[in-house]
Amino acid sequence: MTATNRTGPAIDVAGLRKGYGNHAVLDGVDFTVARCEIYALLGPNGAGKTTTVNILSTLVRPDAGEVRIGGVDVLARPAQARRMFALTGQYASVDEFQTGAENLAMMARLNHLQASARRTRVAELLQAFDLSGAANKRVAGYSGGMRRRLDLAVSLIAMPPVLFLDEPTTGLDPRSRAQLWSLVEELAHTGTTILLTTQYLDEAERLADRVGLIDDGRIVATGTPDQLKAQVSGDHIVFSFGERHDVLRAAELALRHCADGAQVETDEATLSVRMPTSDAVEDIRALLAETAKAGIRVSDIAIAGPTLDDVFLTLTGRPSAQERSDDAAGSHEQPTAGEKRATHEEKTHEEKEKAA
C-alpha cells in the first residue's frame, strides 16, 4: 500500500511514446484524470486512442513515458496496477456460449472475490444493468446493446476505482447508446474514475467532464466540452435543393447574406449548401425570403452543430486524419470510411429531427 497515493490524480500519464517501425503511434502524450472524473480521449481512427488504453492497461509497453494509476507505477508494477482498473475493450468480450450469469460468475471467480460475495455481486450487477430477465440465457441470443451492458457489468465485478472504456458505443443503435450513456454517468456518480475513448463528439460532450483531443499521437487540446466548442466555429445551416442549377444560385445568395470571410460550401452530390450561422432562425427566415424571390425551391433545411471535423479543422488547421484518408484514392472500401459515412448519416438524421 505504500506505493498507492490516495490524494493524487486517479490517472497520471506523462511523455508517452510508442512507435512501430518508423511510424510513431504516440508522440508524447500527457494527461491527468482526477478522481471520479470522466475524461474522454476524442479523436479519429488511428489517432492513438486504443494504443494509449492498451499501454495504460498493461497490455503494451511504451517506448518512453510514465503511467500511474491510483499512484501505482503501471510499468514498474503491472500486477499491482491491475487491481486498480478494469478494461472494457472495443469488442464486447463476453462468451457467447455462456449465459450472462455464468459470464459474471466466472469473472467474479477470476477476480478472486470471496465465494460468499460472488452470488450477491452477480445478482446485483444483473439487476443494475437491466439483465436479470436474460440472466440464464446464452449471450449468443443477446442484442448488441445487451452484450455491451454485460461487458460493462463484467468489468465492474471487482469494483475497480478506475475504468477504461474503449469506444464503448461503436456499432450500437441510438437507443442502446443512450442507455449505455446513462449507465456510465451513474458509475461516475458512484465514485468510479472513467477514461473513455471515442470518435463521436456528441458522446464526449454528453459524458465527459474534460476532453483531450488526440490526433496523430498527440493531444492537441484539452478542456471541458464547452471550452473546446468555444474554439470551434458555431452552427451551420444546410439547405437542400431539388435542382442542380439552384445550388449555385442559392450559394451566391448565401454568400451575399453572410459576413465577410464566411465559408459557404456547396455539395454537388447531395445538392446542398452549407453556411455558418450565429442566429439560425433569423438566417433561415432571411434566406428563405431571398430564395423565394429568386424562384428557387428549397427542399429541406437542417441545422448542424460543429462536427468532429470542424473541431479538427479549427484546432489543427487541417482536416482530421480520417477526412484525409477518405480523400485518398480507393480508400472508400476501408471500413473506417464506411463507418464515418454511417455516422454522418446518423447525425444528419438526428439533426433533421431536431430541426423539425
Binding site: 497490455l59 500486477a79 478494469a86 475493450g89 460475495a117 455481486r121 443494475a128
Partner: protein, 268 residues
Amino acid sequence: MSTITMTSRGVEVRHQSRWSAGSDIIAMSGRELRRSLRSVDALVTAFAIPVSIMLVFVVIFGGAISSDGDYVNYVVPGTLVLCLGFGAAATAIGVAQDVATGTVNRFKTLPVLGSAVLHGHVVASLLRNLAACVPVVVVALLLGFRPAAGLSGWIDAGLFAVLIILAFTWLSVLGGLLLSVDAAGSINFVFLFLPYISSGFVAVDTMPGWLHGFADHQPYTPIIETLRALLDGAAPGATLWVALAWLAGILAVGAVGSALVFARRVKG
C-alpha cells in the same frame, strides 16, 4: 430501467496466492468445457467425426485392404492417433476466437495468472479427447478389435494418449495465437492428412519409393507404432523413445512458443 446501486462497494477481494493460480485454471477449464459441450459443431467435431473415421476405416476400407480380419487390429491405433490430433486441433479455433474477440486482452488485464486462459484450453482439450476415445474404442471393439494388452498395457496406452493430446494441443494453442480464426480452423487438415503418410493405415513398404523417407521419419509413424505395440501387449522397444522424443519436442515448441507469443499478442 433500474439504477445502479453499488451497495457493496469494497467487495472482498482475496489476494493472489499460490492456490489462486489453480483456481484460475479450474475456472478457465470450466469455461472451455462449456464451449465444447454447448455447440453442436463442437460436439460433432469431438465425438461424431472420430467415430465416423473409425467406421470408415474398419468397415469400408478394412475389407479391401485386408480380408483376413487382422486389419482391424492394425488400423485402430492409427485411427485413434488421428482422432486425437483432429480433436486437439479444435483448440486452435477456440484460442483464435479468444484473441479476435478481445477476451485475451481482458484476461491479461485481470489480477490473475494471465496464461490461465491457455491452460484452461489445454485441460478442456485433454478431458474432451479422452472422453472422445471411449466411443471410438467401443465402436472398434464392436467391429472386432481384439487388443492383446492386459490392464498394464491399457494404462500405459492411456498415459501415452495423454502425452499425445498434450503435445498436439499445445501446438494447436500456438497455432490459434498466431493465426486468424479462419486459418486456425484449417489446422485440423494437417492432423487429418499427415497420419495417412505413415505406417498407421498401410505398411510404408506398400507406398511409392519416394514417400518412404518421409513416411519412416515423420512423427506419426513412431507414435502410432508405439501405441499399436502397447495395445498389443508387446514391448514397443526403441520406437517408444523415438515417439517420446518427438512428442516432448512438439510439446516444448507448443508450450514455450505459446508462452512467448501470448505475452506479446494484443488485439486492438
